[in-house]
């Protein structure tokens, strides 16, 4: 029996010629990642276990992104702990205010992760890097601590679900609409413990920003990872980024999949997840009666340049509706600067938006847009659980940047094709 793309990467990193679903393996790691929330807990575990060195100073990445610039004294203390650890062990990929970005926007942009990698990150959205043809999955802080010390992690080799993509998106439809559609179709545990493998002729029509967004939300279907094949889009994205050497893996023709779904991209419409689960999907056009108080455009899901462009194309020359707060957060300093150079930041401000430096802030109800009781937000983030962005009586509607921008203008949930 052949192997899936995920299984091939795992086998290679475990020093095995073949692996099969369900097998427990110990794999070598190319990158171990943490942020300002999860790294302090990992550092405590690392110290408690008595380790006095990391496995590789270039293969650990620590990104301060959740609560920076620090929102309070406790957050500042956590950042300080990360900073001191990074200094002590000479961690080369340490990103502080000024260089940081939202981790899953930053690592691909800098070329720190590449095709064929085996990556763990103490952040659930670490599955993002599957877009580059890497195996990449979220873990907890103790796994991060063990990874930093040994360069290894244990995995149960996942079974796979195949998503065969055909056709291309219509206007104003993007990777976000596809992944919300899939989660709506299979549910928040529809891919539990499995890898989501995207394939088919439609893949060539997806940009890298689309693919990063799609893999980012694989976890919202319960998946261990999401992964795309390596093609010209991937190669041209990776070119000139970082010094890592990509390794291309492809699924065997006789690889086993538990299920195959075929999706024609041309049939998709702008899609929104109603509260309080990402699987509660509706066409954006059904939201005309849902008045909103806030819009957030950004995050590890949708804070990349194409996301900013989609927002700009709708907001340029328009005004945000009275009573709506529109918060735009480019995902990295590079994206932030590019928005300024292209005049998009000016257009956002003229439209009545605020533009922040990179932070995860509002996505998890941290700061920079916390919601009060009864308030509604259309957000390009990834979770709409009870209380996710603030008060337990608030509501989050997940959408693409185009849908969020269109909704900001009208003051209610809006299909971007209508503005």
């Amino acid at each position: 029996m052949g192997m899936t793309m995920t299984q091939k990467i795992l086998a290679a990193h475990a020093g095995l010629t073949t692996v099969k679903a369900g097998q427990l393996i110990n794999a070598d790691l190319d990158i171990v990642l943490g942020n300002d929330i999860t790294t302090p807990v990992a550092i405590n575990e690392f110290n408690k276990a008595g380790f006095d060195g990391v496995f590789h100073k270039e293969k650990i990445a620590i990104v301060l992104d959740h609560f920076v610039p620090n929102k309070d004294i406790k957050s500042a203390t956590q950042s300080k702990q990360c900073r001191e650890f990074a200094n002590k062990y000479d961690i080369l990929n340490f990103f502080d205010v000024g260089q940081m970005g939202i981790e899953h926007a930053l690592l691909p942009e800098k070329g720190i992760v590449t095709a064929g990698d085996c990556v763990i990150g103490a952040d659930s959205h670490t599955c993002t890097y599957g877009a580059l043809g890497a195996f990449s999955t979220g873990v907890g802080s103790t796994d991060m601590a063990a990874g930093m010390a040994t360069g290894k992690a244990w995995f149960k080799v996942p079974a796979a679900i195949k998503f065969e993509l055909t056709g291309k998106f219509g206007p104003m439809v993007s990777g976000k609409d596809l992944i919300l559609h899939i989660i709506g179709m299979i549910g928040v545990d529809g891919a539990l413990y499995r890898s989501m493998e995207f394939t088919g002729p439609g893949v060539a029509n997806l940009t890298m920003d689309d693919r990063l967004c799609i893999c980012n939300m694989a976890i919202e279907a319960g998946a261990k990872n999401g992964i795309f094949p390596v093609d010209e889009v991937t190669r041209s994205y990776m070119k000139g980024r970082g010094s890592r050497t990509p390794v291309e893996y492809a699924a065997d023709p006789d690889a086993e999949y538990e299920k195959t779904y075929t999706i024609d991209l041309s049939t998709l419409v702008p899609t929104v997840s109603w509260p309080h689960l990402p699987e509660n999907t509706h066409p954006a056009s059904e939201g005309a009666d849902i008045a909103i108080d806030q819009v957030v455009i950004g995050s590890c899901t949708n804070g990349r340049l194409e996301d900013m462009e989609a927002a700009y194309n709708i907001l340029n020359g328009k005004k945000v509706a009275k009573g709506v707060r529109a918060i735009i957060i480019p995902g990295t300093m590079e994206v932030y600067k590019e928005c300024i150079l292209r005049g998009w930041t000016t257009a956002f401000i003229d439209a009545g938006c605020i533009v922040s430096t990179p932070t995860c802030g509002p996505c998890l109800g941290g700061y920079m847009g916390v919601l009060a009781d009864g308030e509604r937000c259309v957000s390009t983030t990834n979770r709409n659980f009870v209380g996710r962005m603030g008060h337990t009586g608030s509501e989050v509607y997940l959408a693409s940047p185009a849908t969020a921008a269109a909704s900001a203008i009208t003051g209610h949930i809006t299909d971007p094709r209508t503005v």
Binding site: G138, G140, G365
Partner: protein, 161 residues
């Protein structure tokens, strides 16, 4: 190893944002995290929970963020075992790594009600609802994972190697 306690019962898809809301993630202190555990869906939990009590959930328990603060908050609140129909994968890993016993058992999660007294035998995976007398067989851990648990968590098991 055994657990015995009173049951707190929750529905499907209990996510880590309600287990421990992100507004408290500026702390790593187990006791402080425990004082806010479950508060967004159950304000009474932190006040009523006693050492040894048992949590029962539905499908996909612990979905969402990778925060280890979630199983830590549950463990530090005194919960001795979580029984659910299924667990989200990062929560499952984290629970093993920090030494919070968890068991998958669909019939038990269906039948056991809040307030019942339940005992769990971790070696055999047998769950008994003492209130009704019903007995259930939970899914025992694979040997590889049992070794991590026996060693006292992932870090200790690595140190042993």
């Amino acid at each position: 190893m055994n657990a015995k306690g009173t049951v707190f019962k929750y529905p499907d898809n209990v996510d880590t944002d309600v287990i421990i809301p992100a507004r408290y993630l500026n702390s790593q202190d187990g006791k402080e995290l425990a004082s806010h555990c479950m508060e967004d869906i159950d304000l009474e939990f932190a006040k009523k929970v006693n050492e040894g009590d048992i949590m029962v959930g539905g499908w996909n328990f612990g979905c969402g963020s990778s925060r280890e603060h979630a199983p830590l908050a549950i463990k530090c609140s005194g919960i001795s075992c979580v029984i659910a129909k299924s667990f989200a994968r990062i929560f499952y890993r984290n629970s093993i790594n920090i030494g919070l016993p968890i068991l998958e058992c669909e019939p038990a999660a269906d039948a056991i009600e809040a307030g019942h007294t339940v005992t769990v035998d971790f070696d055999t995976g047998v769950i008994v609802d003492e209130t009704t007398g019903q007995q259930f067989q939970g899914e025992p851990f694979p040997a590889f994972i049992q070794e991590i648990i026996k060693a006292g968590g992932l870090m200790k098991s690595i140190r042993k190697q």
